[in-house]
Amino acid sequence: MTVFHFFNCAILTFGPHAVYYSATPLSEYDTIGTSVKAAAVYLGTALVKLVCLATFLNVSENDCFDPYQELLKVLINFIDVAGLYFALTQLTHRNISQTHKFQAVGLGWAFADSVLHRLVPLWVGARGLEFTWEYIYQGLEANANLVLNLSLAALGSLMWLRKNKPRTLIPIIYACAGVLTTMPSITSYLRRAMGWQTSKLVGFELFSSLMMAFISWQLFSACQRPA
């Protein structure tokens, strides 16, 4: 029964990635290689981020919200953007269209993130007899994270790969990318400084990620149109 629960939570956490890959044209163009490379880049980025976090951040004993430390965290989160930039521009992808490239990179990125951050807690925690909502929430968070990463990758491809985009949209694109990058810090602020419940927080994450995805999609299709 408890392995059953683990299975359920694993489906919720990792299922959407697989569904996304098989449902969209990504599977038809066989972009798995790109995703794997993006995941590898994510690993490297995560390592660099860990080193930075360990170097520049104090370990806070109490779980309070320190604005200065959080600002540092936001800055460190921008390393993610650098990683994405590397994955999108520097890696020699097979000749796939930009539309598919950013999806493959975002998918690989999000999947690597889920595996690194959620698989071990899931394995250790969800198999126990004790029932908590925690792992279901964690799965939902993984869903929101997938959407966020796809949006960020889409904006990244707009910023770095597309040359002829409408000039008026450029500041909006950069602002959205900034918001997406600071999203983890925003949720951390809500959790710790505002003391939001996990259920409320997960709802917010889902909602905000869907909103950002919608905006990114609109921007992407606006740039797609011939000027």
């Binding site: 359920n8 569904v19 969209t24 044209p25 925690g125 126990g128 004790e130 029932f131 279901i136």
Partner: protein
């Protein structure tokens, strides 16, 4: 890239092998991660499991893994997969008795003992509840000890966590949810191996001597007076059987008497012409089996030299009436002498001493009092006790109710005065004279802090003989204490009467998990499946269009057509 790969096949195999072994190692490590993350872990104490002459008694199972339930239950409810949580405060003894006697199966039984009251002020008037509680505990204990219960029975102390769980269980039971509902319930788990029989349980007797002063012309052996107390206990929960009154009080009195006389005997001028023998015997609950073996180990001359023996048993909570239990008629000269010696002192202390005669039936294996073992070997002996009637087998042996709270230190103090004074008058030949040797504030006064210190130690040390090893700290402590006051301290190890056998696992950890039921996980799986299918359809619709989605479902038949 493919060419490179092919070129490196030789080295690649080795790399792959090492990767596989690393992966296997990781999986083994991951599988070993212990799943001990329960919401609550509680110390629990198992009901004793023992056999008398092959007949099983007590709880026969130790492992527990069922949902929790609490009374009241609907009549005729099937509780064979439910752990019944029962606070002893509001125990429904008739319900329990009915269940045990009619042998109805339960998943398990968790009895919640009231919180330990450790900071009770000494000498405070005990409330009515205490007495009531005591009676309930005595009755409960006898019920559980004398039944053969085919499911696990555990005791735990009430605390905030357990009370919260109990309240929750009650609430969900009251709203009529079966334990398998979607909201789940509590699962109580004790993972413990099958209890094993304790192989050759030992009993340990400790003896010490205070040798008397031999006169110059005395060639005969000096007469001996023995003071004896049995120190081990027996109760429903062996890990909780501290037996403060039965017979911690006797042990404390014996140690204090040994201490007082060791001061007298250390000076040749005040050394009496009697040997004093102090014996801490084990096996008291089992017909004083240890006493029997101890006496058998004496040689004939020693046995004959014993003038009389005083056994101390349960002397910690009497008010003003103490009993002398004897096996010879009270008219017997030796008995009369002892009785008079004691009652003289008793009169001076303002208490009364009654005498009770109970004949020994040699054919009956039951030995109700420790002195009966002496009497069977024709040694004059009495038992001093607050109990007016002989207890049954495994009754009044220091069970659950017998804690420090039920003790009256003043009673122990009085008993020590009583025994010590009468012994001293006998030894120094002052019978009938009003001389107080151990008067208060003298250098030979009874020391109350010594008494309470030893009572504290004994009241937190469970002393069920089969579960005490030969080198148990409490045995070492008693031996050391006795050797501080007496000489020739000797420790005797024996095995318990083969009629009794015991099983281990006396304490365990109970994990309380809040669980969701299978139904919930099934529902969750259905919801997740629906979500993923919807997501799939949505993605196909938005990225490829409706036709592709329909084609996905049409493809298999079209292939068949092609093949044909």
């Amino acid at each position: 890239m493919a060419g490179r790969r092919r070129g490196g096949i030789g080295g690649g195999v080795e790399v792959l092998d090492s990767i596989y072994s690393v992966v296997a190692l990781v999986f083994i490590l991951v599988a070993c991660v212990e799943l001990g993350d329960a919401a609550t872990a509680v110390d629990v104490y198992r009901l004793i499991q023992y056999d008398i002459a092959g007949v099983p008694y007590g709880s026969r199972v130790a492992g527990l893994n069922h949902h929790a339930g609490a009374s009241p239950f609907a009549p005729g409810a099937d509780l064979s997969r439910t752990v019944v949580m029962m606070p002893v405060r509001e125990l429904n003894l008739t319900f329990l008795r009915e269940y045990i006697i009619s042998n109805q199966p339960l998943g398990g039984l968790l009895l919640l003992l009231p919180k330990k009251v450790s900071n009770r002020i000494v000498g405070e008037v005990k409330s009515k509840d205490d007495g009531l509680m005591r009676n309930i505990l005595v009755e409960l204990e006898q019920l559980l000890i004398q039944a053969n219960i085919p499911y696990p029975v555990y005791f735990a102390f009430e605390d905030d966590m357990i009370n919260a769980v109990l309240a929750d269980v009650r609430k969900s039971d009251a709203t009529g949810q079966p334990p398998m509902a979607t909201t789940g319930g509590y699962k109580l788990v004790v993972s413990i191996p099958e209890p094993k029989r304790v192989s050759s349980p030992t009993i340990t007797n400790i003896q010490g001597w205070l040798p008397g002063l031999k006169g110059d012309g005395d060639t005969n052996q000096l007469p001996t007076i023995a003071v004896v107390a049995s120190y081990d206990t027996f109760g429903a929960a062996p890990a909780l059987s501290v037996g403060s009154d039965s017979n911690g009080s006797g042990v404390v009195a014996l140690l204090e008497i040994a201490r007082l006389f060791s001061r007298l005997y250390s000076n040749p001028k005040t050394r009496g012409r009697y040997n004093l023998l102090f014996g801490l015997t084990s096996g008291g609950p089992y017909n004083y089996n240890g006493t029997l073996k101890w006496l058998r180990s004496f040689d004939q001359r020693l046995r004959e030299s014993i003038d009389y023996a005083i056994c101390l048993n349960s002397i910690g909570s009497w008010k003003n009436q103490l009993w002398i239990h004897v096996s010879k008629p009270p008219e017997n000269a030796y008995i009369k002498q002892v009785h008079e010696g004691l009652s003289d002192v008793a009169n001076e202390l303002g208490v009364t001493i009654g005498i009770k005669h109970k004949k020994i039936n040699i054919s009956n294996p039951r030995v109700a009092w420790e002195h009966e073992q002496f009497s069977r070997l024709r040694i004059t002996a009495v038992t001093l006790s607050e109990l007016s009637a002989a207890p049954e087998l495994l009754e009044s042996t220091g069970g659950l109710h017998d804690t420090r709270d039920s003790l009256d230190e003043a009673a122990i103090y009085r008993t020590i005065r009583l025994v010590a004074e009468s012994l001293a008058r006998h030894i120094y030949g002052h019978q009938g004279r009003n001389i107080q040797i151990f008067a208060d504030n003298s250098s030979l006064a009874v020391n109350p802090s010594y008494i309470s210190a030893w009572l504290d130690l004994l009241s937190r040390t469970p002393r069920v003989a089969p579960f005490l090893s030969k080198t148990d700290p409490i045995i070492s402590a008693l031996k050391k204490e006795l050797s501080d006051h007496t000489v020739e301290v000797h420790v005797q190890h024996e095995t318990i009467d083969g009629m009794f056998s015991f099983y281990d696992s006396t304490r365990a950890t109970l994990n309380i998990y809040q669980v969701a039921s299978v139904a919930f996980d099934l529902l969750l799986l259905l919801a997740l499946g629906a979500y993923l299918i919807l997501l799939f359809s949505f993605l196909v619709l938005t990225t490829r269009g409706l036709d592709d989605l329909i084609n996905l479902f049409r493809r298999p038949p079209s292939r068949k057509v092609k093949a044909a």
